[in-house]
């Protein structure tokens, strides 16, 4: 994150000033503290990254046959693979239709709760509890809600005389259904971030505004929302990255169907690598996707307001 860059030199000075006291010992101070983490980090982060790059240039298979170096074949294939593009398109579509409500609704909820209405813990529990559910529990619940004949939604539609909807089987609805489920499931996290941010807006700002005779809406737009801008950027950033990485709920509920219309890129990587055995090709797609994530992250970092102003 961008803030580290400015943090590091500060501590450097503080640490540096004590060096002359005991030079020999100081030179390795901290090394043994960092070592265990570094070993694990090297084994399960750095090594797989390197190994994955190597694999992406081979035709490595899940089956036990040998492996050959294939150069850029996998990358070339990925660029021409329509399924890569369609699953990428699905991922972006899901990201757009999930991030918008996940940010805006969370903000509304947090603002409403922050008004100080009675029953604070009830609201917090209601909005945050779904976030604590394991994904399979969420999918079990929603599979049942979306059930074509007996599910809650189609029963409700039936009551008002609307024809049943194939929530998960109709290509026009499936991705929206997945987004709705995701909003219900994960909004509590953003909600809490906003609530915490609201609570740390200094009261004095409001007091000063009240003295100036600013009304409720004025205070909302000229104090509260500007004060939340940093949080909003962070929430959007975290949410975009989280939505791009969608896999669990879609894989469990639709396996990417109907007709590939909900398959996100991570599922395609899984399908290619493990179902189709082609680990090398799956690695290549992973790195292409990683490149996109890095670009998105960097683009977002440029919008980050500097913390130390």
């Amino acid at each position: 994150m961008s803030t580290t860059a400015s943090k590091v030199p500060v501590t450097e000075e503080a640490g540096g000033s004590t060096v002359p006291a005991a030079p020999a010992r100081r030179r390795r101070t901290g090394l043994f503290f960092v070592l265990p983490f570094t070993v694990v980090f090297a084994l399960f982060m750095v090594w797989p990254i390197v190994q994955g790059i190597w694999m992406s240039f081979t035709d490595q298979s899940l089956s036990l046959r040998g492996t050959e170096f294939v150069g850029f074949d996998n990358y070339a294939e990925a660029f021409g693979d329509p399924d890569v593009w369609s699953s990428l398109g699905n991922t972006v579509f899901f990201t757009v239709i999930s991030v918008v409500p996940l940010v805006l609704l969370a903000l509304c909820m947090a603002l409403l709760v922050h008004t100080g209405l009675a029953g604070q813990w009830v609201w917090r529990l209601a909005f945050f509890a779904p976030y604590l559910l394991p994904v399979s529990v969420v999918t079990m619940i929603w599979q049942w809600l979306y059930q074509p004949d007996l599910g809650m939604f189609n029963q409700a539609l039936d009551k008002v005389g609307i024809a049943p909807v194939g929530w998960l089987s109709d290509e026009a609805f499936a991705m929206w259904s997945m987004a709705a489920l995701t909003v219900w499931w994960t909004i509590g996290f953003n909600f809490l971030l906003y609530l915490a941010a609201l609570q740390s807006v200094p009261d004095t700002l409001y007091e000063a505004a009240a003295l100036d005779g600013a009304g409720a809406w004025r205070r909302l737009f000229s104090i509260t929302l500007p004060q939340l801008s940093r949080t909003t950027v962070l929430v959007v950033m975290l949410q975009v990255l989280a939505s791009l990485k969608v896999f669990d709920q879609i894989y469990i509920m639709t396996k990417g169907g109907p007709n590939g219309s909900t398959r996100p890129i991570l599922e395609y990587i899984y399908d290619v690598g493990f179902t189709g055995y082609r680990l090398g090709y799956a690695s290549a797609i992973s790195y292409l996707f990683f490149a996109i994530i890095v670009i998105v992250s960097i683009a977002q970092l440029r919008f980050m307001p500097r913390k130390e102003g």
Binding site: L43, T58, L62, S63, L64, R65, K255, P258, Y277, R278
Partner: protein
Amino acid sequence: MGRRGFLRFGLAGAGAALAPGLLSACASPAASGGANSLRVWDLFSGADGVLMEEMIAEVTRGPDAFEIDRTILEWGSAYYTKLAMAAAGGRAPEVAVLHLSRLAGYAPGGLLEPFDLELLAEFGVREGDFAPAIWQRAQWDGEVYAIPLDTHPFVYFYDLDIAERAGLLDSDGALVEMGSPEAMLAASAAFAEAQGGIGVLFGHVTDPAQNWRLFNGLYAQTGNTFSLPDGGEPEVDIDAATEVVSFMQSLFDGSTNPNNLDYDGAVAAFTDGRGASIMVGEWEMPGLRESGRPLGAAPFPNVFGKPAVNADSHSYVLPRQENPDPERRRQAHRYVAEMLKRSLAWASAGHIPAYQPVVDDPEYAELDPQSSYAEAGEIAVLDPPTWFTGSGSNFQIRMSSVIQSALLGDTSAASAAQQMIDESATLLDQPNPVV
């Protein structure tokens, strides 16, 4: 250096240091079976699942009882992915069920162990006990990798009363021959009239396999082979394929027979009595019979001349183990043999036992309507044998969706046939990851 060698060389030491200790002491402390239990995987849920449960319960009783730890995973690619990953990981179950059509994706890649035929013979199961067509598909490179439990063909169910009224039963009470496309269409019209509704039901919309099953059987009847040679181009007779698709279009024309049903919709239409007959897998038999309609069954009508029926076979395989235990492997062979000998029970769900001594059993002949399509086992046509085909595969999904557009009228038969060949070529173009 092979990839495993390369990796093991550098990392085996680290792995050895990590693996033992804390957790291996309590490896699977909550395991539901004992240390000696045989772990078996299958994909049977619903009626088949319950039947399998009963068969397993039977072998866990008596003097030579097994201890069985059964796991059921979701049918389709989910199951096959897990099976391959477990086999690659080396801690796979001792026995697993595999569709025979998928063997080409497992045996050549080293994910399965061959059966020891001498050991099987010791437990009473020999090559001669199986139909040659099926036995031949169970082999790869001279070894036997799969022991078939059943053959499950795509068959033709009909209402006996309506067939009689339509004059479609012969003197023995069996369905008359429908030896040409015209005869089949005429029979369909007669069925529709006698029913006062739909003649032939077929559910295919968004189904991952139905269209391919129907096509595959009919195409084989034309005397051609849908061949997908490794590293080559698909060898498919486009005229025959076009003929088959256009026959499917004229059979499901949207007036005599609907062209837009999905799987459950078609089954429901038969059980509700809205249609006279249905083309569907024999595994739907228990459900269809429950509807109370007088159920007749026939092996798939021979429309194009050469007897052939699309089918697959649930087979037992031995997934690869990193450290196989000879005694467990022996028990696995014995288990497979015992299950085959009890497959008369399995036939009650509609499947044709692959183990011929059971089929020859007079008790089997009494099973109705199962025995009326028993011959389908000998003319079974499976998917073309290559690594990406088979039940639950992407290949079947893609073929089915092309035919679906043809049946829904979005594509002509000729361009659907061409598209099937093109899509097959695309799949063949992928580097083969198993050999």
